[in-house]
Amino acid sequence: MAEMTYRDAINLALKEEMRRDPLVVTWGEDVALYEGSFKVTRGLLAEFGEERVRDTPISENTIIGVAIGAAMGGLRPIPELMTVNFALLAMDQIINHMTKIRYMFGGQVKLPLVIRAPGGGGSQLAAQHSQSLETFFMHTPGMYVAVPATPADAKGLLKTAIRDDNPVMFLEHELLYNSKGEVPDDPEYLIPFGRCDVKRTGSDVTIVAYSRMTILALAAAEELAKEKIDCEVVDLRTLTPLDSETIVASMQKTGRGVVVEECWRTCGLGAEIASRIYEGCFDVLLAPVQRVSGLDVPMPYSRKLEKLCIPQVADIVAAVKETMSGKY
């Protein structure tokens, strides 16, 4: 175990897998010489050379399409989208191609590729640079979606992603890059997809979250503990596959649930989680599931307004109290 940042954990996973398998390659805008606009690819060019670590033109749809072709041709590419917002320029290759190729061609080709994309709001980057697009990816069949909250999860999930033969959307949170945590040294530290991690056990309320929202949920749980409300925090870790079992089991125990999502509320993944809870726990539910969500607006620049649009610890605390209010 070593303490390191989320950024360094991802960097380490990339290096370990590139050392292990010479077919692993990575490219994106400014990932090589500049070492990434968030410096996640630091040291890669120096260690692996310019054949395997490559800068690209600003052509997002093609960044992904080239990765698809390369994966079909036997490589294991890890294209980086500088931020997830630019995935919207690549939806054609991501959704029309990447997620369909295995299926529509009758399972005749593997497609081992991992799209890495930082995202999320909170740095006053305004409407075009602050989006949380995870629901789009979760809604689309044909790709796995990983959303690590901690450095250890980031390492373990990324390594699993790189070794998998299916396309993976690996969503990093820009505000987590400097967060620290213990990370196993083991180069075989692999976290299986489709398993939630119960990051805090509790008996009163289940809080379901992912990525940075998990960190906020844990902070909220700490606050609530002071008021003797005992929260269980279930971290999804992957959105696809979704581990409904763990969520439902937790809800069977607590009977009350809060889902925290950074994305827009309407048709956000919180509605899916809530629906699965209702479907799986209809008879034991003590209150409606609360959804704590990003507001349904483009992200405003002004920090004062931006803060209103992104779930805060206080919002989670309030939602938990609402489920406990006994109004039902």
């Binding site: 992904i64 390369a70 079909m72 490589l75 295995r102 069949p141």
Partner: protein, 325 residues
């Protein structure tokens, strides 16, 4: 000039090209019939008239070069070696189809033959072709990627992004435009600033050439030349083959936007008829030989239809198979 045909290719190859042209023609015409009968559904884009491009190109490529195409790709797949019966079964949506019935007419795929897919999103295949080229170059396999596309596809951003990318990364992609003058009902000059597609590469330092796409032998020569260049330079090259589709855009299109005169003019250049004529003139075949090859094609296609008809539907469980593996 025609007496020198065998200086270009041995007689058996020339005969094989005729055989393939006939097979493609019979296959497509049979598809039209099966569509009318309701055995083939969905969108069906036929290749009749354009055969010289697939036949000439494929002959000029190495068997392990990758090929990608759009949705008008039955012939590309068959000429590369896909079994007509499995292609037909695919169009019928049967379990024995090339893609188990999951892809249909627009999504043929045969990786053993390096036929890497039919794509139905106009322009979708460009970046994928570049990616395959990167993989094969990375692995020092000596292959190139032949990427077929229509004249109207060049207005998609992916065309430009991929052309630029392939040049910057020095990738062995042979772009082959099948310019049949129309994207559905829109004539090329109404959608392209420069209707001469091969001239669109000048902004990317990518060389290009135009060739008569109704003449399989001319296509063969141009593709040979282009492929050699691509292999030697490890850089992209673009060929524009001028051709024509004898039918509407798809079975749903009566094609009224084209004049009868125009259609007749192009039909007079029918690649099947003309290749036959040249073989006869060059003394490589007589009419009986051609007729026999044609009859053989008919038989193959009939057998393919029978195979497709008799094949089982996919099991219901197939619906969840092949998505993650």
């Amino acid at each position: 000039m025609d007496k020198h045909l065998t200086e270009i290719l041995p007689a058996e190859d020339l005969l094989h090209m005729y055989e393939q042209t006939a097979l493609c023609r019979e296959f497509e015409e049979s598809c039209a019939e099966q569509y009318t009968k309701g055995n083939i559904t969905g969108f069906l884009h036929l290749y009749s008239g354009q055969e010289a491009v697939a036949v000439g190109s494929t002959k000029a490529l190495q068997q392990d070069d990758y090929i990608l195409s759009a949705y008008r790709e039955h012939a590309q797949a068959i000429v590369r070696g896909a079994e007509p019966k499995r292609v037909m079964a695919e169009l019928f949506g049967k379990a024995t189809g090339l893609c188990k019935g999951k892809g249909g007419s627009m999504h043929l795929f045969n990786p053993e033959l390096k036929f890497m897919g039919g794509y139905a999103i106009v322009g979708g295949q460009f970046p994928i072709a570049a990616g395959l080229a990167f993989a094969t170059k990375f692995k020092h396999e000596g292959r190139l990627v032949a990427c077929f596309f229509g004249d109207a596809a060049v207005n998609q951003g992916t065309f430009h992004e991929s052309l630029n990318w392939a040049r910057v990364w020095e990738l062995p992609v042979l772009f082959i435009c099948e310019n049949n003058f129309y994207g559905i009902g829109t004539e090329v000059h109404r959608s392209s600033a420069l209707p001469d597609i091969h001239r669109r590469t000048c902004g990317y330092d990518v060389p290009s050439e135009r060739v008569d796409g109704m003449d399989a032998i001319a296509v063969y020569q141009a593709v040979r030349h282009g492929a050699e260049w691509v292999r030697e330079q490890s850089r992209p090259y673009l060929l524009e083959a001028m051709t024509y589709r004898f039918r509407g855009h798809s079975m749903a299109d009566p094609g009224k936007y084209r004049s009868t005169a125009e259609l007749e003019l192009w039909k007079s250049r029918d690649p099947l008829v003309n290749l036959g004529k040249r073989l006869v003139e060059a003394g490589i075949a007589d009419q009986a030989k051609l007729d026999a090859l044609r009859a053989q094609a008919v038989a193959v296609v009939q057998e393919a239809v029978k195979f497709a008809e008799e094949s089982p539907w996919p099991e219901d469980s197939e619906v969840y198979a092949d998505i993650f593996m």
